[in-house]
């Protein structure tokens, strides 16, 4: 039965007429499902086939608005249908349903054509938000904890809910625009006031695709609210290097060595970054 449920629906949202071996589905269904006075075995099984697909498609539709807007709604439906056929849920929670979307898009990028790279960036960004929303946290480190340790020996861990993304597209700005458009539409739909009903215009309003731009992003949470913060390239290198259990001295050294900016007071800049990250609670004990 599970094999039947996992098979995609027809374009008319019905159960497929033929089983994988070419036999008729009504005959396959009749082998194990009883008909009743109103529904055939096929129709009764079809209820479950539909419910499965409606549930999982709805879930990804809601959880990946950025990917949906990046590739377009029609293409998005095809993409997630193929994805779920290749990778049915392997977790008890629907939260994890998109956990292999990035992998799938790298395997079969043509489903997102012509925005293959932007789609992958967007999926990484949206999955990072899932992790930031309810991922684990560790007690943050206080300045007292590290006061006596010199930078050459100091290692800092990063909160498990924090994701560091190096992206080739400005998917953060794009997602903000998408969410604004969707909330405008929602406001229009829930209001009777003529002035505040941007429905038709908002529906039609097109958003430019994600801009090609190098972006370094930290996706995190603060007071259990989700945030994303752009980072300077050097700041990204420091955090990324720290996440590999390097010392603070090595992480900062790598970042400055890799930078081609010469007009920066690095000690002051690095101190400002560390102060900022400490306030945000990003540091915890290293591994």
């Amino acid at each position: 039965m599970a094999g039947i449920l996992f098979r995609p629906l027809t374009p008319q949202w019905g159960m497929q007429e033929r089983w994988t071996d070419g036999s008729r589905m009504d005959e396959v269904a009749a082998e194990f499902i009883k008909p009743n006075d109103r529904l055939s075995s096929f129709e009764r099984l079809e209820i479950y086939n539909r419910q499965y697909w409606f549930r999982v498609l709805d879930c990804l539709w809601d959880d990946y608005p950025g990917l949906r807007a990046t590739v377009g709604e029609r293409k998005f439906m095809k993409l997630i249908t193929v994805y779920l056929s290749r990778y049915p849920s392997d977790s008890y929670t629907l939260r994890d349903l998109g956990n292999r979307l990035e992998h799938f898009l790298r395997e079969e990028p043509h489903w997102a054509a012509p925005r293959e790279e932007a789609a992958i960036d967007m999926v990484r960004f949206e999955w990072a938000q899932v992790l930031a929303f309810d991922g684990p946290s560790k007690p943050p480190i206080s300045p007292d904890d590290i006061l006596d340790t010199p930078p050459s020996r100091l290692r800092l861990g990063l909160q498990p809910y924090l994701s560091l993304l190096d992206l080739d597209y400005a998917v953060d700005h794009f997602l903000i625009a998408v969410k604004k458009r969707e909330s405008d539409v929602l406001r229009g739909e829930t209001s009777n006031a003529v002035d505040s009903a941007p429905t038709a215009r908002a529906h039609r309003k097109r958003i430019r695709p994600p801009k090609h731009e190098k972006v370094y992003l930290a996706v995190h949470r603060q007071n259990n609210m989700l945030y994303y913060k752009r980072l300077d390239p050097e700041a990204f290198v420091i955090l990324k290097t720290l996440s590999r259990d390097a010392t603070v001295e090595d992480a900062c050294g790598d970042a400055v060595a890799a930078s081609n900016r010469t007009d920066i007071d690095w000690p002051a800049q690095i101190k400002a970054w560390f102060d900022d990250w400490a306030v945000l609670g990003w540091f915890c004990r290293s591994l």
Binding site: F32, N36, R38, Y48, Y92, D134, N224, M225
Partner: protein, 286 residues
């Protein structure tokens, strides 16, 4: 005084399902609610807002856990990570009992996220009961199994659904979460008398009752939980109370969720209905 040996919590009246659209209202207004039922899987996370909200709720309200993914009827063994997380949550909420469904929903580690009906056979009943026992022993909390609504029946079934539920509950020595709306929906879909179901389950094992709304389609009923409770279900609820006595009841409303006040009013209506019916039963008995 407990109504039966599986219902030691007769001071639990009518509860409400804790749902995301109501968080803000509940935390800000602190309405009087007898208890909240949470979907366990929504809170089996490592951190963030879900647990923050849960902890705030736990400070003020009694919480009972209801799961959707143990899949007692699946042939698969339990996912150990799932069980560990569930146990951690049980310790956090101190739920007096835990419920999940009499169904299957996963195969070979792939999940349907649905509550699928089982073939009602003695072999399946034994397998299901073993899993319920294993879960209870690991989780160290009483378990109630809930009858699901269904749209299909198997040729392989040897007994009725209520006989199957009874068999499983007896073999597992567990409680029953009697979903009155599910019985009604299934009775219409499978042409049986819902009162035969109510009359023939082991009443002494009923630890909780669910009531909810459903949707009518041309050829079948769908268990949508997106309406107020309908009259035939109220009537069945009254009959169930007569049979099982004072029992914790949960009003389910999971889709097209209205304002908290609307759900709350429906729960208050259920509470009043329950008190009246229990009083009438006592008078008759007297």
């Amino acid at each position: 005084m407990p109504a039966n040996s599986f219902n030691s919590f007769t001071n639990y009246g009518v509860g409400i399902g804790l749902r995301v659209p109501h968080y803000q209202h509940i935390l800000a207004k602190k309405p009087v609610v007898d208890w909240f039922e949470i979907i366990s899987e929504n809170f089996m996370v490592d951190g963030g807002r879900p647990l923050e909200v849960l902890d705030s709720i736990l400070e003020q309200y009694r919480v009972v856990q209801h799961g959707v993914a143990l899949y007692f009827g699946s042939a698969d063994k339990f996912d150990r990570t799932h069980l560990k997380r569930l146990k951690r949550l049980v310790k956090r909420t101190k739920t007096p009992w835990l419920s999940d469904h009499l169904c299957w929903g996963s195969v070979d580690g792939r999940y349907t996220h649905d509550l699928l009906p089982m073939p009602y056979t003695f072999a399946v009943a034994r397998h299901t009961a073993e899993k319920i026992r294993a879960a209870r022993d690991y989780l160290e909390v009483p378990i109630c199994v809930e009858n699901v609504s269904s749209y299909a029946e198997f040729h392989a079934s040897e007994i009725t659904e209520w006989e199957f539920l009874s068999e499983v509950a007896e073999l597992a020595d567990c409680g029953i979460l009697l979903d009155v709306n599910n019985i009604y929906v299934s009775s219409k879909n499978h042409n049986f008398d819902p009162y035969d179901y109510l009359n023939n389950v082991p009443h002494h094992r009923v630890g909780q009752i669910h009531i909810a709304g459903h949707s009518k389609f041309e050829k079948y009923l769908l268990d949508t939980h997106d309406h107020p409770v309908l009259d035939p279900v109220w009537e069945m609820y009254a009959h169930a109370l007569k049979l099982v006595g004072n029992t914790a009841t949960l009003l389910e409303w999971d889709d097209r969720i209205p304002s908290f006040d609307e759900v709350h009013n429906e729960a208050l209506k259920a509470n009043k209905f329950r008190d009246q019916r229990l009083a009438a039963t006592t008078e008759t008995a007297g």
